[in-house]
Symmetry: C2
């Protein structure tokens, strides 16, 4: 058990080490945007690690938009300058695992916005999907069952309707961690879901009649308990 965690940390450490070495190399060779990095093979040899490790590190930097791999050609420095490259890699290396408070804080920020934007931009098709999610949630709650999943799916339906793919992606990223932490910390109260139905309906109605401020306000009301929980912990 602990060995597995250890090896995971170790592999993470190796990756960060490689990333910092890539940064050093970019600085040393004064590589500019569009320049080619040495091949994966030579990097793995130079750093004394496997090519897989190098590939994983490159993939991570690619995910943050700093490098770009081209098949049969090479890996290239993205179209951002050396200074931004250095600063961002520094930040990436220092990034810590998100804590629950950060997650909730970010979720509230995103959801107040997506509710507002959804009221502004929702299509009829969006409304149908929100209605379906809401009905599924209501049915489970009235049946006395745990409805955390249906709850979140209603919120994801709003995110989809907000017409902003970046916010939609971010909501998808934080949702699973929210769910697992909810069940871990037993955030969901036993009798709160019944209140939740009314609050969800209020949000839905506001979005339906395209009242942006009311949508935001109803979402705020919905998060009142969560907000308190988040800042009391």
């Amino acid at each position: 058990m602990k060995l597995e965690i250890l090896t995971k940390n170790e592999s993470e450490y190796i990756q960060k080490d490689i990333i910092s070495k890539i940064r050093d190399l970019i600085n040393l060779k004064n590589l500019e945007p569009g320049d080619k990095l040495p091949s994966e093979r030579s990097l793995s040899e130079k750093f004394g690690v496997t090519r897989s490790n190098v590939r994983d590190a490159i993939q991570k930097l690619e995910h943050y938009g700093l490098l770009k791999s081209m098949p049969q050609s090479g890996t290239f420095v993205a179209n951002i300058g050396v200074i931004a490259m250095n600063g961002m890699i520094e930040d990436i290396l220092r990034l810590e695992e998100p804590d629950f408070k950060s997650l909730v804080e970010t979720r509230i920020l995103l959801e107040l916005k997506t509710a507002r934007l959804a009221a502004l931009r929702r299509t009829n098709e969006d409304l149908v999907q929100m209605r379906e999610a809401l009905d599924a949630y209501t049915a489970k709650v009235l049946n006395g069952e745990n409805a955390v999943q249906e709850d979140l799916l209603f919120h994801l339906a709003i995110a989809k309707a907000c017409g902003n793919s970046t916010m939609n992606t971010f909501m998808l990223i934080i949702t699973p961690e929210i769910i697992t932490n909810f069940e871990k910390y037993h955030v969901c109260d036993k009798n709160q879901p019944v209140i939740g139905i009314k609050e969800h309906e209020a949000i839905y109605e506001a979005i339906k009649k395209q009242d942006t401020e009311e949508a935001k306000q109803k979402m705020k009301d919905h998060f009142k308990e969560l907000y308190k929980y988040c800042y009391n912990i």
Copy 2:
């Protein structure tokens, strides 16, 4: 050139196909949280694709927190239920590439919040780093050079100071795309940077004296032009 894009799209299509097949399998076998998925080998055989493809698809679902791979043991369904699993995979499959407007809209949302939180929580060390980024930016602007990178690094310094690792991560994710799009669309005006110095200084001062509302307002002022640009396009 176009071939490369084609193959990328094709590989993306294959991955989405595998992901939907994994979803179908979870539904068919009624797999619950914690249950084990079939091995990568049997999946690749069953789907008629390579094991690498299966691994990539699993890795993507792992990134969204839906699966969890354990070395020498298996891949397990995450601690979220079947309903959420289905809804989220559906969303992930339909996710579209972020457009520039989404990016800017999300950036403004995040930055108004990080400015406010940074004013609330910044340490002295945070202040030092923001000061350094700001000085680097000012020096370049006064020298007549392009200072987009230094600009963004100042904003990232604020994100770091806001004490929310999730928002910090999200800022890091969108920053490179912002930079490349800025240079692509030539958003940065020739004479605007000089105004930018004053605006940056105002934000810094507000954060320094821990005036949350002023920090938010100064950031809002700073984004006025960008905001107009975003909604006129």
